[in-house]
């Protein structure tokens, strides 16, 4: 398999040699393959955000090395040679609508491609493509992004990153503050990109999102990787979940309620559908 991202013994210290020095990552090693959908969970301050910022060079490891494709980043890497990396690794921050600044939606989405060296017509084409992926209608292209609703602004901001055509997309809590519909729409977009081969790395608190989307979940605790497994394997360890102040998804909660009542399902269900399926299965087994 194609190892796309490799973190090797990465340490990161904020403000080294100052009284405010803070070790954010300790000996983190991870390998991420092409096309994965990985979720990163953990308490606030567990190092999740620091970890993802390592991958597109916004932060450089104090010790160790990060490799993305054939680009290596360590503490010797020059800040100004990261353009190629940043194009490859798109990053969508919490409340990404905060980055909007251009007069029109189209110009704002084309901003990234232009910075990465595209000429204006090419950037425009990419912007239009990205806007159609996120479902922003043509009518809005020439509007100011600030006239849009919260959900639409969020989509425009996400299009701004997608337009750079990244191979890896990092998202830090992309759905916070949206209503349920807006949230589902955004998750659908992310899923579609993943199906087209884009590697997704998503920081989130929402375990339902983890259960229903990710094929792999990493739990961060005090700057270390404390677990790296499939969501189902993670949910089989309720103690680990509780220790990291995480919540069980509703379907998993039902599973444990049933265990409590002496009913053991064959597998931990990740969706409402799976709950019903397994109960049906179990009942036919009983009979």
């Amino acid at each position: 398999m194609d190892k796309q991202i490799i973190l090797k013994n990465v340490d990161f210290i904020y403000q080294p040699d100052l009284p405010s020095e803070k070790q954010a990552l300790t000996n983190v090693s991870l390998e991420i393959e092409n096309g994965e959908f990985m979720a990163i969970v953990g308490k606030t301050g567990s190092g999740k955000s620091t970890l993802v910022q390592m991958i597109n060079g916004l932060l450089k490891p104090t010790l160790g090395e990060v490799t993305v494709g054939d680009i290596k980043i360590n503490n010797q890497t020059n800040n100004h040679n990261l353009s190629e990396l940043r194009q490859k690794v798109g990053m969508i921050f919490q409340f990404p609508e905060k980055q909007l600044f251009e007069d029109t939606v189209l110009k704002d989405v084309a901003f990234g491609p232009i910075n990465f060296g595209d000429d204006e017509p090419t950037a425009k084409t990419k912007a239009i493509k990205a806007l159609s992926i996120v479902g922003v209608s043509k009518k809005l292209y020439d509007r100011s992004p600030f006239e849009l609703s919260g959900g639409q602004m969020r989509r425009v901001a996400i299009a701004g990153t997608i337009a750079c055509e990244p191979q890896i997309l990092i998202l830090d809590e992309p759905t916070v503050g949206l209503d349920p519909n807006g949230k589902n729409e955004i998750l659908k977009i992310i899923h579609q990109l993943n199906e087209k081969g884009v590697t997704i790395i998503m920081v989130t608190h929402d375990m339902d999102v983890v259960a229903q989307n990710a094929n792999r979940v990493v739990v961060m605790n005090k700057g270390r990787v404390s677990s790296d497994s499939t969501p189902r394997e993670l949910f089989a360890n309720p103690e680990l979940i509780a220790n990291n102040s995480l919540a069980l998804p509703d379907s998993v909660q039902i599973y444990y309620d049933l265990v409590h009542d002496g009913i053991q399902l064959s597998q931990i269900p990740l969706t409402a559908n799976e709950v019903v399926e397994q109960i049906t299965q179990k009942r036919s087994g009983v009979k």
Binding site: T44, S149, G150, G151, V176, G177, L178, D179, P180, N181, G182, N184, H205, D206, M207, S245, L246, A247, D250, S251, Q253, I254, D257, L258, D261, I263, A272, N273, V275, V276, I279, T280, K282, R283, V286
Partner: protein, 277 residues
């Protein structure tokens, strides 16, 4: 007994936006000690209602009465605000004081409450939200959930009869959200405080006494959560999601199970499943 909040035929539109009405002939009321959830899409006018009730905006037509006192002149606004505490969405937008304690005291300072009384009231309020240990911290050093708890303390320090939460947990993680709702539930149950919680998180509405659903500038539902959750079409039209237990119940029905036609919460539904075996 008269309702504590009485809204009659309220209409409102912002003058600078395109002229559509944000609220159109809305009437509802809340009884003392009730926990009411006000839900609706983003931009459906939920926050406008909060501001109107608190007198931060003036209604164009209709009346709002708090404890049977109408909102009309500016003086009344101040009088009315004494009985209402308001907590907003963004934790960063509510801090005035440089420490947690002095921020909580802000509302008391505005009413020229003597310092000794202030000190004891601040202590009581901070203890209620579990933030007394943080009294000397700078607000900027707190987490989002802690900030919102301080904001609640800042509101309840004035002993309001009504607490309005304007999407107070929409920017928080699930754990912090849970903690905030625990605090709010306690205020509702132990002190009989009337709660008006504005939200688009349907899961947190399950524990409230009543749901008011706002759509297209009108109230389209006013009743018990268990009744509301069964109105699947209505919920879908409002861009909301069904609570998990209701989704599950629907799945059971679709698969041909003989399940109650009433809403059940997570606990009830897992009990029902247990009985299948």
């Amino acid at each position: 007994m008269d309702p504590i909040i009485k809204v009659s035929n309220l209409s409102f539109q912002y003058d600078d936006e395109d002229a559509s009405k944000i609220l159109d002939d809305i009437s509802f009321q809340c009884e003392k000690g009730e926990y009411v959830s006000l839900i609706g899409k983003n931009g459906s006018g939920k926050s406008t209602i909060a501001k109107l009730i608190d007198g931060l905006l003036a209604p164009q037509t209709g009346t709002i009465k708090i404890n049977d006192i109408g909102l009309s002149s500016h003086e009344n606004d101040r009088e009315m605000r004494k009985s209402i505490g308001l907590v907003f969405q963004n934790p960063d937008d509510q801090f005035v004081g440089a420490t947690v304690a002095s921020d909580v005291a802000f509302g008391l300072e505005n009413r020229a409450v003597p310092r000794e009384i202030m000190k004891s009231k601040v202590e009581v309020a901070l203890k209620k939200v579990g933030m007394w240990d943080f009294r000397n911290e700078m607000p900027s050093s707190l987490s989002g959930g802690q900030k919102q708890r301080v904001a609640i303390a800042g509101a309840i320090v004035l002993d309001p009869q009504i607490l309005i939460l304007d999407e107070a947990t929409s920017m928080l993680d699930p754990l912090a959200t849970k903690q905030i709702h625990e605090v709010v539930n306690k205020l509702n149950q132990k002190q009989n405080m009337t709660i008006l919680s504005i939200t688009h998180d349907i899961n947190v509405t399950a524990k409230s006494d009543r749901i008011l659903a706002l759509n297209d500038s009108k109230i389209i539902f006013d009743g018990k959560p268990s009744v509301f959750f069964q109105k699947h079409e209505l919920i879908a039209n409002m861009d909301l999601e069904l609570p998990f237990s209701e989704k599950l119940r629907q799945k059971f029905i679709d698969t041909g199970y003989d399940i109650s036609d009433q809403y059940m919460d997570d606990e009830e539904i897992s009990q029902w499943i247990s009985k299948l075996f």
